[in-house]
Symmetry: C2
Subunit: 132 residues, 2 copies
DNA sequence: ATGGATGCAAATATTTTGCATTTTG
DNA sequence: CAAAATGCAAAATATTTGCATCCAT
């Protein structure tokens, strides 16, 4: 059985993620790590983000252009199925939990005779601050 | 002002799309075109799908792995905001229109002080036929 | 004939992977 | 000390683009 090791690189990435509340790409995170003097390889950033995503420690989002963006959600939200409301101007992200929504959506699937229905929902808008 | 020209390649692609009711990648579509003897370049397939998507003639979906999938929806659905319920086994896709959903979702955004909220929703399940 | 469309190959962009080396537990 | 993690560069993916040629209008 495999063990997770705490390395300087992973610690640095985790610390950086904790400071952010906006989705960032692996490349952006890598650049920011270098900028603050934490020498980390790009491949390591990808590998670490990958395992964090798999462990549910970060949420992943795909850009329209197919780029993966990562964000560390609040510990609580991380363990529950939730969605994101992202500001299209500043990128700030708010977690959205909607029990009613979950039911409604699953109901649609069942209505079509589908079972084991999963769903993905993403919201994009302009936040109060950016709307002026 | 630019004009759209009807070429052998575009006609072939459009005909192929009309026969399908499952999301397919540009590469898959290209292979299928070659298989049926319609010599078409991969780049042309990408370019054509791109313009069809922009014109709202096909719907685009991004795979978890970042691949773009295309499907020609029913003419009616194509003009309205809608979502897809995709069978994870056979790929068969059903269009889902949900006025209640739209309202509900937009309400969430406004509740957080966001304006001009858009959303994306995708449903994945197992259809009756595949569930056995 | 004229400008849009095509094909091919080269270029992009992102993410993954092989492997020798370093590091953690 | 063994297993896991890292770094780098090469490889793999997916899609785009430059450009000469072709063809629909």
């Amino acid at each position: 059985m495999s063990t997770q090791r705490v390395t300087r690189q992973r610690t640095a990435l985790r610390e950086l993620l904790d400071e952010l509340d906006e989705f960032r790409s692996a490349q952006q995170l890598h650049a920011q790590l270098l900028a603050r003097g934490a020498g980390v390889g790009l491949a390591t950033v990808y590998r670490t983000l990958g395992s964090m995503a798999q462990a549910g420690e970060v949420d992943v989002l795909r850009t329209e252009q197919g780029e993966s963006l990562y964000l560390r959600c609040a510990p609580l939200a991380a363990r529950t199925h939730h969605h994101h409301l992202v500001c299209r101007v500043c990128g700030r992200t708010v977690d959205v939990a909607g029990p009613n929504l979950e039911e409604y959506v699953d109901g649609i699937g069942r209505g079509q005779g589908f079972v084991d229905v999963e769903h993905t929902l993403e919201l994009r808008g302009t936040c109060a601050a950016c709307a002026g």
